[in-house]
Symmetry: D2
């Protein structure tokens, strides 16, 4: 059963391989009347785009999005929005060296176990290139939430290897190539990346994503809790291996009297819960963090197996990011936006004020 | 839109409040021919049951499950399995003290924002009592996976407050009241719980869950990656605030040449990936960890608001666990089992060997 | 993959066999604040109940529904509503005569082909008894739509064998045992049923269902058109073999200039479309018709096969309706209500007035 | 909530308007290893294509499909298959005459009630042009079912206005422009169409679709019965107002002893059930029929309303089919194929032989 769709009320369905003809998506369920132009989407695609600096992969893709449907005279009509991006830099290089072996930490082995066949060029469907369509759809959700609720969704790189952000200056994030909120860290990160590239190695990273002005009441009890949905959304991004909400793993060592967010007249006095209680948003900022593993494609030689069972050495040359985490913030924002948008519409379905038959203040 | 269902091919839909008439579930999609008796389910329910020791809540519930359908002469028939548990110890005490205020760290405030009405007795639908039905359905999935594939799913408490397991002796886990894999920790945990109860406080914890002998190939690329589904499943458990797969957050500080699991003739030489690559199982053990916040219901006085905006002090007396994490392992196992079972059937749909039209070895 | 759930925003999931322990359902997504008591549901269950007259099966079931959750102090809370009905008249008679053979026109053969195992007692899951839960859930939807929009959903038996209703007096429908809108037909139907029972035979029938005061705008373009959803809903009722909307099959012989519903100041001048254009409700009454095959369980001897391939004669004795269509109107109403309710909530998700960012009149 | 997706295990999601940039689809869940080329899809698109003869619309569209993903070296890989067709003949004519009025029997009024905005050019999303993507996806399903099971799915026009097919010669169907199984009817239909075109009018029609060699066991009890799914699939096609399975509405007037299909050693002796019992396929041919209303776009003047409430006359000139039913057979085949394919995979999920733990013959 397929896994290329996301969301129940605001749904995203994607297709496309790294070196296929084109990537594309269908965004269904968008409310009508939203002003939407290709440029609204392109902005975020450009933030994610490879080749922005020498610190990311050298692949040159313009990632130019085309809106095929669902928008009429610059307004969404409520019908599905079809998006496509042509693959222009899918060089037809020689893949015979990786065609029959399982690159360590890649999806080669597991895809082969699953399907018995795979498009090995550039990682095929498992390529990070797949995330363009998340970013494109996320841009629509971000715009809607922003216009409708004033919601602002931002993400930053809070850790690269051992380097951890000590200050969180959101205004600094877009001003450096690493989406880093701590300007003191920019230089050290640059040096680390240079050093890793030289060594033919890579590093992990961690990304923080925050959403302000989220309406209270989003999320469904039990299985579709808002934090569960965010966890799924972020963990579905390539390379992510951990997700936290609010205090995250820190809660294991806390006592209840310290952890709980007390209230006064003006509302919550703290936000250790990360904006979610019982799986439902409280109106406080939603805060999540995710960890990304180091890039798997590295020049340093490693050992692996071929399809026929032979043990061989492998070294991945080519255009690769020494740290995939550095391009992840726009993707994290997009996934957060998709979850919030979906749950806003789900909330409207069941609980739009007018639907209630009772006086809620009784 | 509703959130009380889990899974696409093996689906669980639950209902029930802490102090309602009964809890129940529908398990749909179970393959026919599995030997299933109420006792198969009861075993896990008893492991989760409150009142097993003085370290957990004193609520007395027999949690006796009844199979209403879908089983004929002790064999599943392929039709939906209806389960119910009557609420027998839902004391009709006086709830007037919490009826109109928002207990800190509880779902009271967010439910009110969402629905404008709530069953405040014992936390209603937000009560941990809801997890009985996860455990019941999980027991069916566990049995199927075990009979079919030899899959074994186990969970343990790996951290309570500052106390962390240093050794992992799975054989010790069921031998102590805390599902603790490190026997040296049993006494300290007991002391910590006693101390907290006396202080009217509570503590967080962390739980590790592992699945052996999972078929390779489970999980769907992109949004329904196996790790994304596990993350959602575990994060949907009450009080969970963080989820990790394999090395988890540790990957942020690792380099690629160390992190990647290399292969030799016999397969993977390590399992830092936690049994999942590209969102698809590799056949290696699946390892996940989750963090649970400290129990919110504590005797220590805290500040909060009433529905009408008045600031008041609140102290929760009654039958509460000082550490909800201590009862979480059976729930974590159940959620892992539900994910694996669902994805096994999803895999069978698209990729059952016989369906393939090509020679997979070519 | 399971098929026991219905609806996306207002979902019904059912379980239960004819001779199992109990039947049950989970209704998820109901808006909070609806006044709901067991008696609201019981009324429709009693209309469907067997044994109301000598013209239906003699099985004695009180079909007493119990609300297990989701309602607090007589108001829905927004959480899932769990319903159960105990099977009280599931006589443990001897089924050895049908256990190994395929009764003609029953689901015996196809279930066996599908699952390889079946609960043969009383038809198991394929029994019409399964429809009790449709009626119960439909009663909730009917009440909500009635309170919220003034929607009224009614059904009647418009044909029994060769006897067709010539007048449609909706006020007469509940006044006779056959839900017949043409009082002149009541006596002939009674005679036909008596004759058939004596002959050990049965007859088909056709049922008309109508919904007034349905909001315009319900239904989704393309696959989830409102008429497509109604067709699926009605065709999923046991024994139904045909569904029509508005003029139905009559349209094949009509010309466009006659068929189209023209408009004037006051709206549509006719309603040949049956209240739906382009798959979306127009606000005109929705009109559907369905045909039910004759009861398969008849005393008249027929030929069939056993599981082992032997050809045998079969004659079904016992408590059976000579015309299942006579009890179908409450079921048709329920399915119509479930579709409309689901699509009302779906419409609220995407198109609730407040969500729009544009002036709709521009 | 969106309605542009079809199927659960084999899913189709479409986008596109009549006069937009492009139409497209994502087909997710296709098993790997199927030989697939664009020509496999193009064949059916060409059968549906307008402008094949003077009896259909004069719109000139090459409807050239492009496969963007999911196929590697002519084999499906198991990942989503992205399809697009560019709109090349979307003439930018003047639509000011229909922009603000509701053409009778069109979706204009209902879309406006739903969304408050619409792409009025050529009917937008409500155009029959949307069905290209159904045909494209259906071609993949048809090929798979044919290779895997030998399933053959065919459709024909069995009635046009008062002209009904009296003989069913499937071999004749593809040999005439009207997909007519009764060659004696070809000339009369041609005359009728000419007459209608001259009169500026249109006619309804009815289409029969049949599937041979369908595996037994497909379809899910209760809500997702195979006939319910077929009913929804066919009724979701533009202009369809009625659907029948097997004897269809004829069953209302039949007695049980005549209707039931008896069995002997070789299987069923008749097939009045249309290949489905209890919602599950029996292995007999599946037979369905659907009725299509006359084309709404006719030259004959009719009365309607504008958005502002003014009553006006309307006459639709332009390139329209006098009988939309004449192009419907490839669409009916496609929808039948999508349902059967989806249910074949769903059946494989739960009931693949190897999954069973019991001896099915016991």
């Amino acid at each position: 059963m397929p896994g290329s769709s996301f969301g129940k009320a605001f749904t995203l369905t994607t297709f496309g391989e790294s070196h296929g003809v084109a990537l594309g998506a269908v965004v269904d369920g968008c409310p009508p009347g939203l002003v939407l132009r290709e440029s609204d989407i392109q902005t975020d695609l450009d933030r994610r785009r490879p080749g922005r600096s020498k610190y990311t992969t050298g692949r040159q893709e313009s990632d130019q999005v085309r809106i095929n449907s669902g928008v009429f005279e610059d307004l969404t009509t409520g019908t599905p929005i079809g998006l496509t991006i042509e693959n222009t830099d899918a060089r037809s290089r020689d893949y015979s060296n990786i065609k029959d072996l399982y690159r360590p930490s890649h999806a080669d082995y597991s895809y082969d176990q699953k399907y018995g066949i795979r498009d090995y060029r550039g990682g095929g469907r498992a390529s990070a290139r797949e995330t363009t369509m998340r970013v494109a759809a996320g841009a629509i959700a971000k715009k809607y939430l922003s216009v409708r609720h004033g919601t602002r969704i931002r993400a930053c790189v809070s850790q690269v290897g051992d380097l951890r952000a000590k200050t969180f200056d959101w205004d600094a994030v877009e001003g450096n190539l690493f989406f880093c909120p701590d300007v003191a860290l920019v230089e050290p990160i640059a040096e680390l990346i240079d050093r890793l590239r030289e060594a033919g190695d890579s590093t992990g990273a961690s990304v923080t994503v925050m959403a302000d002005k989220v309406p209270a009441g989003l999320g469904e009890p039990v299985f579709d809790k808002l934090d569960a949905e965010i966890a799924r959304a972020l963990m579905s991004i390539n390379a992510v291996k951990g997700v936290e909400i609010g205090e995250g793993f820190g809660v294991a060592a806390m006592v209840g009297s310290v952890h709980r967010d007390e209230m006064d007249e003006s509302g919550f006095q703290s936000n250790r819960a990360g904006g979610i209680l019982g799986g439902i948003s409280t109106g406080e900022p939603i805060i999540a963090r995710m960890a990304l593993k180091p890039t798997s494609s590295i020049a340093k030689t490693g050992q692996t197996r071929t399809r026929s069972g032979e043990v061989v050495d492998v070294s991945t040359t080519g255009r690769h990011d020494p740290c995939v985490g550095l391009r992840a913030p726009p993707i994290a924002e997009a996934m957060m936006a998709l979850v919030l948008m979906d749950h806003w519409l789900r909330q409207a379905a069941q609980n739009s004020g007018e639907v209630s038959l009772i006086d809620r203040s009784r």
